[in-house]
Symmetry: C2
Subunit: 327 residues, 2 copies
DNA sequence: ACGGGGCATAAGGTGGACTTATAGCACGCT
DNA sequence: AGCGTGCTATAAGTCCACCTTATGCCCCGT
């Protein structure tokens, strides 16, 4: 399929005749016949019904006609944008991110979008994933990062990354001194600060404890990341979070110890929700692209643990969990 | 711009190097250099910054990269849809139409969509234009036909057609017997059934009366097309509507006389609102296409008066009103 | 039966896209 | 400073694809 073929095809359908279209396009009629035949060969089925009065598209041909018009319009738009003074990508893009994702990549995402697309105004909405689900269902967000893939909707869903969960303690905590790993049983003995029961992360953690006939000693239920981390820093308890939880705490001068679970694979998948890629605005398209880039850099970052690439990338396939309970 | 150029370009940006991209694409590196040069010549500016370490896109190049990916994905999607068993266009498309537009084209639109795209479920929402404006702003409609172009939003707006307004009487009315035209002064003497004061059509009509120091004798204010037409048929008064108002009345066995205004150009523009064309679903795209086709046929229809093509079509340019008050 | 209008095929010419060969530049290492 | 490597750009030649003209076949209307 080629652009010239699409231009020929659109004109043929609009004129209802190869001969008339050839006049409009200033090419010989056999050229259209040949290009149409090549297109039909590539598609593998006829697109037009021929008669002595001209041609009419069948259903596949009609569908292709509409798509072809869209593609040609987008090619013109792409050319216009590329030719213009500054790429002319502008507009407001609202993106919903859970707190830990904001913590991990929020600043870098905003930096990149601001420097690469100065006329795009990115609006980062930090909220709990349940609320983000509601917002994007209500079309009040262009993009959202969520942890479940079963939000029934016509939105596009693509895996973004997989986060490993760690037991997080204050750096100077008396608990488990000098340790790099922890067992679920040891974690069950610690005072824990976890999100409330409706929170997906909380349910994910409880599943692992219950599978070992253990109960976590929950000393506080807090649905605010910054308050949780301040509470951990203040030795009220430990928490279980992905590494993103401490990345911005490091910036704030807080130090934490992160212990990997040696007898459990505690992981959480992140998904990027958006309108289907072909129905996203230019501004939202580039913001989604920059989000993927920032995540790729996080995953590949030297010295940064606990982030795995999205399943489907060849290098990552073998490291992704074989099965993972739905969150 | 060609599809092969876009494929080469996307791969060059992703690899950050023409040499690496040439390995991935199995073509010689100078071929990429030449095609990239042609693309930049067509765009009229550089897209990539060259260095001894490879290439990086500038802002125009980055924007083009995102668009190119979108276009290539849509080409793949178009091919997939064309190849599939039945075109695979499916989904629910909601379209908001004012009553007179439903009357003019509603049945034909539904017929065409049902026969050409059996898996598309079209949901025609008949409502007053003010309510349609609210619904589409709330993203509760995929498409809408409205009469004003100044609805501030990020929706795409395209002219659809221009309707001429007629004085409409019952066929057997004693008023203005045998006449084909009417003056504004004569109309001011008739009992009139008009929409309520907030209705755009009402305000359009009043502007013309006031410009001639005339007042319409409004005997009833009704915001229901079918009730208005039943009232006209029952000799309660005349009304002023586009021709669409009677097209379905003809089907119901009602007969009306339509008198053209000889001393006024009473016209109303219709606009198609939708998400920007590149962000519309496939189903909505084909429904919009079928809407345009139905309107074109209405405009070109033999014996059907009072509909003019959208401005911008060459044959119609001279018949479209040079200036027209904003509605 | 004939003429006109439509689409499809055959054959030839030309221009574009790819190839190989090579030049030039920058960077890193010795 | 010199050399090797890796990158992109240019030149020249080859081959293939797209367009042309010529023509055949079919259908419809008169």
């Amino acid at each position: 399929m080629d652009i010239r073929q699409l231009r020929y095809y659109v004109r043929i359908v609009e004129e209802g005749s190869l001969s008339k279209a050839s006049h409009m396009l200033h090419v010989a009629q056999p050229a259209l016949s040949q290009q149409l035949a090549k297109l039909e060969e590539e598609v593998g089925k006829p697109l037009l019904v021929r008669s002595s009065k001209g041609v009419t598209p069948n259903e596949a041909g009609q569908a292709l006609y509409h798509h072809a018009r869209l593609i040609l319009r987008q090619i013109d738009q792409a050319m216009t944008i590329a030719r213009s003074e500054d790429g002319n990508i502008n507009g407001v893009v609202s993106i919903g991110l859970p707190a830990t994702t904001v913590a991990a990549i929020g600043l870098e995402l905003v930096r990149r979008v601001r420097e690469r697309f100065p006329k795009v105004s990115i609006n980062v909405v930090e909220a709990m994933s349940g609320h983000l689900e509601h917002l994007i269902r209500q079309n009040q967000l262009d993009l959202a990062v969520l942890f479940s893939r079963d939000l029934a909707s016509d939105l596009a869903i693509e895996p973004l990354l997989v986060e490993e969960l760690f037991l997080i303690l204050a750096d100077d905590s008396d608990h488990l001194p000098g340790r790099k790993t922890v067992t679920m049983a040891e974690a069950a003995e610690l005072p824990l600060i976890l999100p409330t029961s409706t929170h997906g992360l909380r349910r994910r953690i409880e599943v692992e404890f219950e599978a070992r006939a253990l109960s976590p000693k929950v000393v506080a239920e807090i649905d605010s990341l910054s308050l949780v981390m301040r509470s951990v820093n203040d030795h009220i308890g430990a928490t279980i979070k992905p590494m993103g939880a401490i990345l911005q705490e490091n910036d704030r001068g807080h130090k934490f110890r992160c212990l990997r679970f040696e007898d459990a694979k505690l992981r959480r998948s992140n998904y990027l929700y958006s309108l289907p890629p072909e129905s996203l605005s230019s501004a939202a398209t580039v913001v989604a692209g920059e989000l993927r880039t920032v995540v790729d850099e996080l995953v590949a970052g030297a010295g940064v643990e606990g982030f795995f690439p999205r399943p489907g990338e060849a290098a990552a396939e073998q490291t992704a969990p074989a099965t993972e309970p739905a969150e």
